[in-house]
Structure formats: C-alpha cells, structure tokens
C-alpha cells in the first residue's frame, strides 16, 4: 500500500518539475498563432509601387508574407537575408515573396529600401496596420508561409535567419500534395 502511494507522489512531483522545465524554454512574449493551418486572411490594397496588390491573385504559388516596417530595428538585421532569398528564389515558379510594410510612411519605406537595398519583390502598404492585425501580427518582423491553396502553413516570429528557407520552407514546398487536402475555404 505505502510504496504505491509514495511512487505516485514521486512521479507526480517529477511530472510537475518536468513541465516547469519545459516551460522555462517558452518565450512569454511569443504568442502562438491560431492562424497556422487556417486560410490566410486575404488583403487587397495599394502597394508601395502605387499599383493595387491582392494576395489571392497568387493562388497556386507558395507565398512568403513578410511583415516589416522602416521603424523596425530587427528588420534591418533581417534584410540581407531577404535580399539573398529573393535573389536565390527568383528562378522558382512556385514561390514568391510579398512584403507588408505596416505602421509606416511611404517616405520611410522608400528611404529604408534605398538605404538597405531593394530586394525586388512587391510590398503591400498598411499604414494603420489593418492587415497586420488581421493576420495576428504583434511585432516585426513576422513571416508567414502561405501554401498554393491560400492556407498559412508556417509562422516565424522575429528575423528570418540564413538557411531558414532550406530548413523550414523547402520541406513544405516539396510536399505540396498534402496541402491539397488540408485546404478549407
């Protein structure tokens, strides 16, 4: 009788300690996105180039939606990788990048791109962060990978790092068939 109780007590204390240990690695500032594996909220707005831009026009391709702003310090750190990624994926017909410049001014964005380099892809302009809030964005930079059916498959909070595409995105890009059945309108 007694040893059973003791081992149950020991096990539950260990279990609680293990949960605490796991919890220590959580970032309290990171909010898990419920949008992953859900249809991406569409946006149709003016792009920084003055022309209209609409996300759903790019169905059939994987789209990396990158939220940034000229006021964001981490975006400066991330920028060289985005330049590199845009260059190395330009030849791909199944992938493109769209930036969302939020809580920004057009002059600020133009100045940022002139100073840190223009990666060449288009940017939706979102001055009052309507799109950003619609996507559950709470910081910058944040990146979402949207599959050809318009479903968000991945969210990355913080700057993308060199090798991110090969490590996180490419395995998904190569498994497109599975995305077909997950897509719900």
């Amino acid at each position: 009788m007694k040893p059973i109780w003791q081992s149950i007590l020991l096990l539950s204390v260990l279990a609680i300690l293990a949960l605490f240990a796991l919890g220590l690695h959580n970032d309290p500032r990171e909010i898990p996105s419920p949008l992953v594996n859900r249809p991406a909220p569409d946006f149709a707005t003016k792009a920084l180039d003055g022309q209209p831009i609409r996300l759903s026009d790019h169905r059939g391709k994987w789209v990396l939606v990158n939220f940034w702003g000229s006021w964001c310090v981490s975006c400066v750190a991330e920028h060289p990788y985005l330049m590199e990624l845009a260059r190395s994926t330009r030849a791909r017909s199944d992938f493109l990048i769209i930036g969302v410049d939020f809580k920004d001014t057009e002059q600020g964005a133009a100045h940022f791109l002139a100073r840190h380099g223009n990666p060449g892809y288009r940017h939706a302009f979102d001055p009052n962060q309507k799109i950003a809030i619609d996507w559950g964005v709470y910081g910058a930079p944040e990146s979402y990978l949207v599959d050809p059916n318009g479903v968000i498959r991945l969210k990355h909070t913080g700057p993308l790092y060199p090798g991110w595409f090969e490590k996180m995105a490419l395995p998904l890009l190569q498994s497109t068939p599975s995305a077909q059945k997950e897509a719900t309108p």
Binding site: I31, S33, G136, Y138
Partner: protein
C-alpha cells in the same frame, strides 16, 4: 416697444442656444453608448505587445490601432461576441485578459478542486488509520511473542519492585 424687442431678443437667443445644443446632445448620447461598448470590449482584450495591459489602457501603437478597429466594428453594428471572436481567431487565448473556462482551460479551473478533494480523502484515511488501535503489531499482541520472550518479560516484571 423697447421691452418687446428685448423679449424678442431673449427668445431668439434662447432658440439659437437650443438649436446649437440639440445636435451636440443627441450625438453624444449615441456616441456614449457605442463608446461604452468599445470600452467594454477593449478592457477585456489584452494588448499583444505589453503583456498585462488591456487594449483600452495601453498607449502602444498596436493597442491604439486595435481600439480603432474595435470602434469601426462597433460602429458597423457588429455584435460584441463577434468582435471578441475576431481577435480570438487571430491571437488565440492570449488575447483575453481573463482566461476563458472553455476547452482545455477547464483543466486549469478544476484541477485545484480535484487536488483538494483527493488530499482530503487521503487525509481522512490517514486520520482513520491513526485512530484505530494497531492490533497487528507484535508488541500489542501477546500471542505473537515467542515463549522465551514471554518468559523473559515475566522474569523482568517479577524482578521489578513496584
């Protein structure tokens, strides 16, 4: 004549004042109601960048823009639960300052009471065990003593002068 004109002037100015005040009054009434709704929703939503402040209290840009979105939605006639749900769909559980009692959160709400109940049962059983005399022990039960042991105890008892 003079009296009449001053009366007319007084009436006209009163009318003017009422005309000026009327739209102000009616619009504030309306705005007050919708602002109260905005406040009610925003007080329950957590600002996503400041951890423990509500959208209503926070001065962060994100919270201000969220407040504006709530205001737009209230003015568009959306229901309170629809607006709460809009943010929940995008930010998850995190967005509510007061955690909901739905789904797996139920475990968090009820586990302490279950623990308390289990503890009470364990304590009750322990108390029962302490109170009942322990018949099984070798000291309490003379029949478990070997004859030699019994003899020694008797010898010792005889030797003791009470």
């Amino acid at each position: 004549m003079k009296q009449q004109s001053s009366l007319l002037f007084a009436l006209l100015s009163l009318l003017l004042a009422l005309l000026l005040a009327a739209p102000l009054y009616s619009s504030t009434r309306n705005e007050e109601a919708s602002e109260a709704m905005v406040r009610k929703i925003a007080r329950d939503l957590r600002c996503a960048v400041c951890q423990n402040q509500s959208v209503y209290e926070s001065n962060s840009d994100l919270a201000k823009d969220m407040l504006q979105i709530i205001r737009d939605k209230v003015q568009a006639g959306e229901a309170e639960h629809a607006i709460r749900d809009y943010f929940f769909q995008r930010y998850g559980d995190y967005i509510y300052l007061e955690p909901t009692t739905e789904g797996k959160n139920k475990i968090l709400w009820w586990a302490p009471f279950v623990g308390l109940l289990l503890g009470a049962i364990a304590l009750w059983r322990a108390i029962l065990r302490w109170r009942t005399p322990q018949k099984e022990s070798s000291l309490g039960n003379p029949s478990l003593l070997t004859p030699e042991m019994q003899q020694r105890i008797n010898q010792d008892l005889d030797r003791t002068q009470l």
